[in-house]
Each structure stands twice: as C-alpha cells, then as structure tokens.
Symmetry: C2
Subunit: 389 residues, 2 copies
C-alpha cells in the first residue's frame, strides 16, 4: 500500500514523551514544552528527530510535515537526511514573546526570518528532493503581523508550504479575536496564510462560516484527534469540514501530547470519535484512509508526488503483514482492518523513494539501539537543564 | 506487572471482525451479529474463542469476563482450557425473542436455565479454578423477568457472577422504561441483578441518581470506550462513576465492534475521551490502570485472587519490553508510558497462575499459525451460512 503521511508532527518533542501529561494547552506550553524546548541543544534536537523518525518509519509513516523548535533546526534535517524519512520541516517562528515562554525562545522578526531563509537555501530540495522546508510560525498569539506576512511571502518565493497551528482551543480563538479584532481564519487569510500552500493544524474551534471559507480557499486542515483529546481541546468537526469540501489531513502532533506517533492510532480514533455525535456511519474507514494518504500529500504540497501508488509518483510504499491474530480473519474489506484493527507492529517493510528503510520490521538505515540509548541520555540531560528532573 | 483484566468480552464474535462496521447497535445486532451468531457451530465457536484468546494473551490480557452466544458454550470452554487464559464465561441467555433475531437463538426460559446450570456443573472451578462460569442474560430487552430472577438465584447458588449489558444506548434505555415501567438500573435491581456479584457492561445512559444507586449497591460497571464510540452509543461518565464510589472495570467488548481486543487501546482511549468534557487532568493514567487491574478483578469476582502482585494472590503476570522507540525515553512515570504509549507488541512474556503462556512474544500453548488458519476457514463458512458472503 502507499506509505502513510502525517501532516502535523513536532519531532523536537519526541524526547518529552510522558513529561507533560494531563495539562491543558496553555499550561502544557508554559510549564513543560517551552522550558524543555529552550533547553534543547544541537545534539538533543538531532536525537529527538532520530527517535521520532524511527518510530514513524517502523510504524508505516513515510512522510511528515514537521515543526521544529526555534533553534537547531539544521540538526533535525541532518537526522532526517541520515534516516531516510521524507519530511517537510520548518523552524518554529515566534517573535511576539508569549507569557510564560523562556527568553531563549525569543527572536526578533528579522533574525527569525533570516534563519528560516538560510535553512531554505540549504535544505529545500535536499537529499534528492526528499527533504523540503516549510515556513512554520508557531501560532497567531506568538507571532507579529509582519512576521506572518513575511512568512507567506517566503513560502511563495521558495514554492514551499506554510505550517502553523490554528483554532486549537477556545482560549486561542478568544485571544486572537481580542488582539487582532478578527476571527482566526480570517486573520490568517489577511496575512496571506490560506490556500493550498497553507496547512493549519487542529481547527477544532472553527465556525460554519469559517469552514466554508477554508473550503473555498483550498486551505489544508490537519486533524490531530489524540492531541486534541489529550490536551482537552475538543473534537474537530471533520465530517463537516469534508462535507464542505475542505482538504483534510491527519497527524499525531508531538509525542509530548499524544504520546504516540502512531498513524494507525490516529486513523482509528479519527473514525471513532465522530460516531457518538453523528452516528455509527460517520467518517467511514475508507474516508479516514484518504486523510492519511492523499490528504497528507496535499498538506505537504506533494500531491503530484506521493499519496498513491500510480505511474509517475514516488515509490513511498509499505508492505503490511496482516497475518496476526488481531487482524484475523481476513475481512470482507481490508480497509476496515487497516483503520480499525492494524497496529504499527503489522508494518513489515517500508520504502521511501524506492529505498528500503525498514525490512522485516527492522530499521536498516540507523541502529535502533543507538537511537534509544542516545535519546535516553539526551532526555535525562534535557530534564535537568529544564529543571524538571 | 500484574496481568491486565478485561471484564467485557464476546469471544464468539472474534470471527466477525470487520464484518459489522459502521452500524448503530440495533442494526448491528439485527443485520450482522444475530445472523452470524445463529450460524455458529461447535467448531466455529471453538476457533473464535481460540483466536480471541490468542490476541488477548499476546497483548497482555490474562483474565476476562466473557459472554458467549446461545449455543455451543462448551466449545469455548474447551478452547480456553487448552490455551490457558483465565476466564469467567457465560452462555448468552435470551428467552424473549427480540425483533430481527433468528429463530436459532430463541430458547425457552427453562431450556436456557437448564443449559446454564449444566455448564456451571461442568466448568465452574475447572482447570485448577482457572475457569469459572458466569450467568449472562444478554440484556433486558431480550430477557423475561423470570429468566433474570432465576439468573441471579443461580449466581447465588454457584457463587458466580452475573454478566449482562445495561444502558448501552438511549434506545435501550427507552425500551426498558416502556416495557418494564422502570428505569433500567432499578429494574435490574428488582430482579436481583445488582451488587458485587453483578457486572454491567456499558452504563453509558445512567442518570446521576442511578450512578448513586450503582455505587451504593457495589455493582460493577464495565467501561467499553471503543465499542461505545464505534456503535455511536456515547461516552460513559467514568470520572463521575468513580467519584460517586462505583466499582469500574474496562473491556474491549467483541472484535465485531472494536475491532481490537487490545487492553492498551482501551486504557488509552478511556483516559483521552473524558478530557475534552472535564479537562486534561480528568481520568489520569494511574486511575485508568486501576480499571484494568483491581477494577477487573472485582468485576470477575476474583478480587482476592488477581489484579495485583502480592503475597497470596495468583501469579498472573506480564513482562513488558519497554525498549522500543515508541516508549523511549524512559518516562518520569512508567504508568504514563503503559497507558498512553505502550502497545500489545510490547508484551514479552505472559504467565497465568504461574504458567508461561507467552514467552518472547510467542504463544507457547497453541500454534498461532493453526489458530489463524482455522479461524480464517471458519469465518468463511460462517459468512456463507449467514448469507453475508
């Protein structure tokens, strides 16, 4: 089958798994994620990306849209270059210092843009076009209008995606309304962040008229069901978004609010979570599988290259082993087993751009033992530096 | 760690996996489950139980409360005797012929009770007390008052549990109110189905005063979050049930409405699903792990024997291998990893009553290849007999 695509991931948070449970978004950011991101070094960003990419590849995800932290994004690219995952990666842009964020994460608008441009010159199209940049303003409350406008211009210039968060919580929605005087989707549009080039993670708190606007624009919405539950944010109205004609992808978000990077868990949850509200037939398995294939390809700006097995597309492929008891008997519809029953451990072989990265459930490009050992060491150091130990 | 316990399973539905997706409970029963259950033979019940038990053991579930179909329950016991899972099993009792149910599932009250009693004489305490019976009326709409009363008397007589469904959907709630003139929890109490001897699966649609009643009685509630989403039934108010002092366990229900029998998926979902309604701190990981250990032991009537590692309890044990990338880095709190990140494939060894059933991820008591082959063959035959092929 085609490789699965996750269009909202924070590889830099993989080392934070289990360190930020059971907090709502605002406390999760200020008490855990910002101190931990501020404590990152080149080395810890590298092994955080390696750890996340290993989990993703072993679990059948072949391409991601990623948002790193403010610094050290070169290190994430170097890890991805080595391990072989297809990735569209952006340095996190934030020039408005949000309440509770450490000084290490503050940058001027110019410095933020300059580094983003320098990353684009180095990495956009690298590794045989397997690596690309995106421009990744964190979210409206931590970005100035000029930064957001410049971001969308850089994306045009480099023919790249813009990757941000939008309408994740009711607090965010109200903050944006208060500070900009506009509803969030309209505000993002006013600074050029809309249309096929934009991928907005979450969109839990969008009204019906905003849904219509997102559909008309062709903006990509990235549904992150586990993360939205874990942080208590809510449930995105995905069937209504699809019904309105929106482009929708799926993603696990970061390991700090999930705590898996498991595309099978996200697909299953995306299907299940709509049914109490809309009926058992809502968001059927086939539609969910589209979110993780063609929907993801669109959000990454790669719809002509990945997301399906067809002449002219890249060979991003999975071989599933569906012989385990938990996927027996062979169903009338194999898509049902993929969405409702299959697990990462059912992924046998993984190819990206025709290159074997996982064979017989084993990662072949990097030693998993080394990744796990170095990630454990780096996580300990991070916790100490962030004074969470 | 102690073996995990699931207190609501239908092993006889394991062969129906993927054949009954995206239907609400009433259609799911009449269009799929009843025709398929009616098509069961001794042989298909045997391999359905084997398949489910293999998935459960390989995924770290060491004990279950099970409801079989109307006929052939001896075959399920024989499978469980051979594979080694701890199980409390009841033949499904239904003497009121519900709309849409095939004639093969109709039994007189006396015939149903006579077979249940005969099963109890043969199997209650069998295999060194590893197998027990429960008495398992399907649900109020398919059972007469005399059947339900006799069930609770038989349970007293044999010192066994009563295992039934309650308050799963709003339709069920309204049906019971209309036909009995009583609310469901009060009606069940009036026929003797309440207290520590009773395990009620679902309880999605219980009011506050019914919650208080369940707590006062000491009745076991079995939360089945995936099944309740999959069938569009709703979300049980587990934090409120616990707050009121209710005894709560967890279960995957059957593979026909889940479609996994994965206790890790149920634990994770149980924690996540409450947070949008009650906040990110609702139903934390430690409390969820209790549902799958001590909560399960209580629902099975085995609280003095299983559910914890302590002197005097049975050696139902797991060895987890938490070295994979998806459970790295080692968290500050290992319970977080178990509930939010771990998968069935992380279970390395499984012991029931001190006997090794899984070693190094391999089932040692029965050949998995044989189970998968026979289950596939039986499922094909079932689909044909039920005219779903």
């Amino acid at each position: 089958m085609p490789g699965l695509i996750q269009a909202h991931i924070h590889l830099c948070q993989t080392l934070f798994r289990g360190l930020a449970d059971e907090l709502r978004l605002e406390q999760w950011l200020s008490r855990r994620i910002w101190p931990l991101e501020a404590a990152h070094t080149e080395e810890t960003v590298f092994w955080s990306a390696m750890l996340g990419a290993a989990e993703l590849l072993l679990g059948g995800t072949t391409a991601i849209l990623d948002m790193e932290t403010v610094h050290h994004t070169h290190a994430a690219f170097r890890a991805l270059e080595r391990i072989g995952l297809r990735a569209v990666v952006g340095k996190c842009l934030m020039d408005a210092h949000p309440e509770g964020a450490p000084l290490e994460l503050a940058e001027s608008t110019d410095a933020a843009l300059a580094e983003a441009e320098s990353l684009a010159r180095r990495w956009h199209g690298a590794a045989g076009d397997r690596l690309r940049v995106c421009f990744a303003p964190r979210f409206v409350p931590s970005c100035s209008g000029p930064l957001l406008r410049a971001t969308s211009e850089l994306a045009e210039l480099f023919d790249a995606q813009v990757h941000t968060h939008a309408a994740e919580t009711i607090v965010e929605r109200e903050t944006v309304l208060r500070t900009t005087g506009m509803e969030e989707i309209a505000y993002l549009d006013s600074v050029g962040i809309s249309g096929k080039r934009a991928a907005l993670a979450h969109c839990v708190w969008v009204d019906q008229h905003e849904t219509v606007r997102l559909a008309r624009q062709g903006t990509n919405v990235v549904h992150c069901p586990s993360s939205n539950l874990m942080l208590g944010s809510g449930v995105a109205r995905v069937p209504e978004l699809l019904e309105a004609g929106c482009r929708v992808a799926i993603g696990a978000d970061g390991a700090a609010c999930n705590n898996r990077l498991d595309v099978f868990a996200e697909m299953r949850l995306a299907a299940l979570i709509q049914k109490p509200r809309l009926g058992a037939e809502a968001l059927p398995a086939g539609q969910v599988l589209e979110l993780a294939t063609v929907g993801g390809a669109r959000a990454l700006g790669l719809e002509d290259e990945i997301g399906a097995i067809t002449v002219g597309k890249r060979a991003d492929l999975l071989v599933m082993d569906l012989r385990g008891p938990h996927v027996t008997p062979p169903g009338a519809d194999p898509v049902s087993h993929l969405v409702y029953a299959a697990c990462p451990s059912d992924v046998r072989d993984v190819f990206v751009d025709g290159r074997a990265l996982v064979l017989g459930h084993e990662l072949v490009t990097v030693s998993v033992d080394e990744i796990v050992r170095e990630a454990g060491r780096c996580a300990g150091e991070l916790r100490q530096r962030a004074q969470l130990a």
